[in-house]
């Protein structure tokens, strides 16, 4: 039975959300234009009701979609392609935003929440600001509208409530229109991660926050309140900087923990598309603060507030229109919304630019010459550098767009993004980062008041000296020699030292103002952390066997990967490293169990323990217990030893997922104070390939006799008659004997139990026994009662192996700690500005 109702309900909510957004925008325009107070109030009421109805519809869409996912209504495309029956509950939330439609919805949701807050806090600005909100919401709702406009036959938006049979052209739907798949195709395994539950909402809240300064700025230009908009917009800009920054960092941390490119930042177009708006938002924040304190930089604040939102729209266009194509490792499903996205982008770009041009000559700008002994001068320089920093990333990221534009005019352009993106971007961003740090460190000495040369010298002398001393210490200890790194390190220490000095001063006077200094200290730590963890990251899994990559290619290479055979120690960096076998992860207990200690059942999600299972001396399961596992997750236990002592055990993971092209590797990270050791599987043994067994070697043995298999000592312990085989009773005409053989492995004693069967007193059958870890198969091939001898056939295969790659990331923790301090600084600053705003509002009343 198809559940039509919930989808229809959801679709109705989508349509009402679109209509109510337009109603809201229109009513606010009216309310704005009318001077008659009574009528104005009526239009305002109308508009508010419109926005409430809009918010209700957005919630309605979310609830409907969530019901579809949560109830496993696989007749819907969204549930089928993003979820499955076995998906753990917390990840059902992630399904929601795996699809483009869901992420549009998330974005709309945050706009709706912010809109509600603004309606209740901004009486004076409500109408003009909410016009912008209404229009933006209408555009976003149109992206998920899924309605075909009659006559011109254009499809508007892609609805998340589309049925599977309408989304997919499969012959089964012709024969059986009511067909419902039993299970969904599941959520991308990489997204089954707690960061992916909280990263997208944070990022989209950050996206949504950029609309607030934009809307206030537009409202200010429109209402000819050219400077008054800064005050209410400032706390939101700060909040946006913090949340967007946090969202980006979470993404970086997720990449570090889950992906295997060996870091937290890859300069991928997708990352750049949020990095650039963030930099510009930070620049906008600084110009707004400058205007509040000194009355300068108003025009810059206006330009930057507009730019941030337009850049957000541009990134949306880049990442969702499919234009990046070959340029990005991220694949985006092209929903055919490129045209709509382009109109969205152009509408706000053109409207904002025209409005700014029309009003430009009315905007006051300070005529007096800016002094280099003023704080605003340094902040302005810093903001300019941030803009250039963003510009440098934006230009190469847009290369696919140039190719498209050239193609549009009938030309042919074959420009590709730089071959080594990390190297390319880093070499520029390093200089900009150092410049920003030095400018902002210096700016801190000019405490809003004018200073002269003498005073500056006096203020700066001490911090610069301390910086030089610390710099020298770090250089000699960490052996930094690269000139650009030296400069970068200097700038990082300088910004920390100067801000610690400022902080010490502020704490004595008014701790409430400490946000800025704290945030800048965080930035300094982030810069130093990046320098060491990225600049001095090194591959430690070097393979020193000196082999050539191939006989045809006579160049020598760094071999960055290491082949490990099970239970065979190798050396890596200063460690002795040993692969100890495949592990599985129980669903309801923390820890890992050996794959060889469990038997599969008919249900792939359940296994049976063959013996008592321990993890780190803690008993997880008794023998014969049946328990649940994650069948797609496979872990590789790798032990790292130093001087014979176990230093760490890592469990890098692969996720088997045929529809994602085989397997996905995620690293395991050993965290030490001075460096992280990061390792991941780069090639697992193919589990489907049939192993190649050697020709069986036959031997005759007596009970108690020792022998060698594959260089391991083994002993034939016992032979006994058995009545059942794998749970099946033997009939009276059959007979079976089971040998037990003990084999001394490197770390444990294994037991092989091959079985010899005589069926109906004439037919002979064998049940060989395999020891996976040792790569041995033993078959009991014959019994000689007169001499009491038994014949065994032993074959061997290549032992289990895995290829890994390991990297060392020095001092990466300085960066993570720095990000936390940065966030604390933002929070302190936000609290201060919000209080200012509230007090200001009280004063007005």
């Amino acid at each position: 039975m198809l559940h039509y109702f919930i989808g229809d309900l959801g679709h109705i909510f989508v349509i009402t959300s679109f209509v109510t957004a337009l109603v809201c925008a229109f009513s606010y325009v009216k309310a704005n234009a009318i001077t008659d107070l009574g009528k104005k109030e009526a239009w305002l009421k109308n508009a508010r009701v419109g926005f409430y109805a809009h918010t209700f519809s957005v919630l309605g869409i979310i609830v409907s979609l969530f019901v579809i996912i949560y109830q496993h209504y696989f007749e819907y495309h969204y549930a089928y392609s993003h979820s499955s029956l076995h998906l753990p509950g917390q990840y059902m939330v992630s399904c929601f935003w795996e699809g483009q439609e869901g992420s549009f919805l998330l974005w709309m949701f945050w706009h709706a929440v912010l809109g509600l807050v603004l309606i209740h806090t901004q009486r004076a600005w409500e109408a003009p600001v909410m016009v912008v909100f209404g229009l933006v919401q209408a555009f976003l709702a149109s992206m998920i509208l899924g309605v075909v406009i009659p006559l011109i036959n254009i499809k508007l938006g892609s609805s998340p409530f589309i049925l599977l049979r309408d989304a997919m052209d499969d012959p089964i739907f012709k024969m059986q229109p009511d067909f419902i798949p039993k299970d969904g195709s599941g959520l991308n395994a990489l997204l089954q991660n707690y960061w992916m539950v909280i990263h997208p909402p944070t990022l989209f809240l950050g996206f949504a926050c950029t609309l607030v300064p934009f809307a206030f700025c537009i409202a200010g230009l429109w209402q000819k309140k050219y400077s008054e908009w800064i005050k209410p917009a400032l706390p939101w800009t700060l909040f946006g900087c913090a949340v967007l920054g946090l969202g980006i960092l979470m993404g970086g941390y997720w990449a570090y923990e889950t992906l295997n490119f060996g870091g937290y930042w890859n300069w991928d177009p997708v990352e750049n598309a949020v990095y650039v708006p963030w930099l510009i938002l930070i620049a906008a924040l600084h110009t707004m603060i400058t205007y509040k304190n000194s009355g300068t930089a108003l025009k810059s604040a206006i330009i930057l507030s507009i730019s941030v939102f337009i850049l957000i729209l541009y990134s949306t266009f880049l990442t969702r229109s499919g234009i990046l194509g070959d340029a990005s490792v991220h694949s985006f499903t092209d929903l055919g919304l490129s045209g709509q996205l382009l109109i969205y982008l152009l509408f706000f770009t053109v409207a904002a630019i025209i409005l700014a041009i029309v009003r430009w000559k009315h905007i006051l700008s300070s005529e007096k010459e800016i002094s280099i002994y003023s704080r605003e001068f340094w902040i302005f320089l810093g903001a300019t550098t941030l803009c250039l920093m963003g510009f440098q990333v934006l230009i190469p990221t847009s290369i696919p767009v140039y190719n498209k534009i050239v193609a549009l005019f009938g030309g042919m352009s074959n420009i590709a993004p730089p071959a080594n993106q990390i190297e390319f971007y880093s070499k520029f961003q390093l200089w900009f980062g150092a410049a920003v740090a030095i400018l902002s460190g210096t700016g801190q000495f000019f405490w809003w008041k004018k200073m002269d040369q003498e005073k500056v010298k006096k203020e700066m002398l001490f911090p610069v000296l301390i910086t030089l001393v610390l710099w020298a210490i770090v250089i000699s200890m960490a052996r930094v020699t690269e000139p650009t790194y030296l400069l970068f390190l200097f700038s990082g220490i300088y910004i920390i030292v100067s801000n610690v000095k400022v902080l010490a001063g502020i704490l004595k006077v008014n701790p409430r103002l400490s946000g800025g200094a704290v945030a800048h200290i965080g930035i300094g730590m982030v810069l130093i952390g990046i320098l060491f963890s990225a600049g001095y990251s090194k591959v430690v899994s070097l393979n020193n066997s000196g082999l050539l990559i191939s006989k045809e290619l006579d160049t020598e290479f760094n071999r960055d990967n290491l082949l490990l055979f099970i239970n065979e120690p190798r050396t890596m960096a200063d460690y002795e490293i040993e692969y100890k076998g495949e592990r599985l992860e129980p669903r309801h207990k923390s820890g890992y169990v050996k794959k060889n200690d469990v038997e599969p059942t008919a249900d792939p999600y359940k296994v049976v323990a063959t013996k008592d299972l321990f993890f780190k001396d803690k008993k997880l399961y008794n023998a014969k217990d049946t328990f649940e596992i994650y069948p797609e997750n496979k872990y590789y236990e790798i032990e790292l030893r130093k001087d014979g002592k176990v230093k760490a055990t890592v469990f890098p993971r692969i996720q088997i997922n045929p529809s994602m092209g085989g397997f996905i590797a995620s690293p395991d990270i050993v965290r030490n104070l001075s460096a992280d050791l990061y390792s991941h599987v780069s090639l697992p043994m193919n589990p489907e390939a049939e192993p190649e067994w050697s020709k069986p070697e036959e031997m005759k043995l007596k009970i108690g006799e020792n022998f060698f298999v594959n260089d391991y000592v083994a002993q034939l312990e016992d032979i006994k008659r058995i009545d059942e085989i794998q749970g099946f009773k033997l009939s009276s005409s059959d007979a079976a004997v089971e040998a037990s053989i003990k084999i001394q492995g490197e770390h444990e004693v294994y037991e092989a139990k091959p079985i010899f069967i005589i069926k109906d007193a004439s037919q002979v059958g064998y049940l060989p026994s395999e020891i996976n870890d040792l790569g041995i198969k033993i078959t009991l091939t014959n019994i000689y009662p007169p001499t009491n001898e038994f014949e065994l056939a032993v074959s061997t295969r290549q032992k289990d192996w895995v290829v890994i790659k390991a990297l060392e990331k020095p001092y990466i923790n300085i960066m993570w700690i720095g990000t936390i301090i940065l966030m604390i600084g933002f929070t302190l600053a936000f609290v201060r500005r919000f209080k200012e705003f509230r007090e200001g509002r009280k004063a007005e009343v």
């Binding site: 499969d170 070959d326 993004p417 071959a419 990559i549 191939s550 082949l563 092209g661």
Partner: protein
């Protein structure tokens, strides 16, 4: 001259510098013959080549070879003009390699062989299932 003018000039200069250097560092999409010519004329810049894996008549991929210790591999890539080239890659085979429809190799010629420093895979089936598994 005012300080603001000096700053404006510097900003414009840096911006032009960024554009010029981007143009200089940008790679290009070429075919194997062009890439070979570039390498023989002493150009060491890495370039992009888009191609498909070589397949036999029944659609099986041919020419895949694992390097020593499984830590590298090589394959045959056919570019848009049909030129076939052996490509070496100093990493184990990426998991979705054989299911990819198009392969973008970034690298350059070393002698007669193409050495890839990075491989991008285009697998449209990855995020959008073409066929429904009706037996489910």
């Amino acid at each position: 001259m005012k300080i603001t003018h000096i700053i404006a000039i510097i900003v414009i200069a840096v911006a032009i510098g960024i554009i010029v250097s981007t143009a200089g560092d940008a790679s290009t999409y070429v075919n194997f013959s062009q890439a070979y010519q570039m390498a023989s004329s002493g150009e060491t810049k890495k370039i992009h080549v888009v191609g498909e894996l070589k397949k036999d008549d029944s659609g099986n991929i041919i020419g895949l070879e694992n390097g020593a210790d499984n830590v590298s591999f090589s394959f045959l890539l056919v570019d848009d003009l049909g030129k076939e080239q052996k490509v070496f890659y100093n990493e184990p085979m990426p998991p979705d390699f054989t299911s990819s429809e198009k392969v973008v190799v970034i690298g350059s010629y070393k002698g007669e062989n193409f050495l890839a420093s990075k491989i991008l895979l285009k697998c449209p089936s990855k995020y959008q299932e073409q066929k429904l598994n009706a037996s489910l």
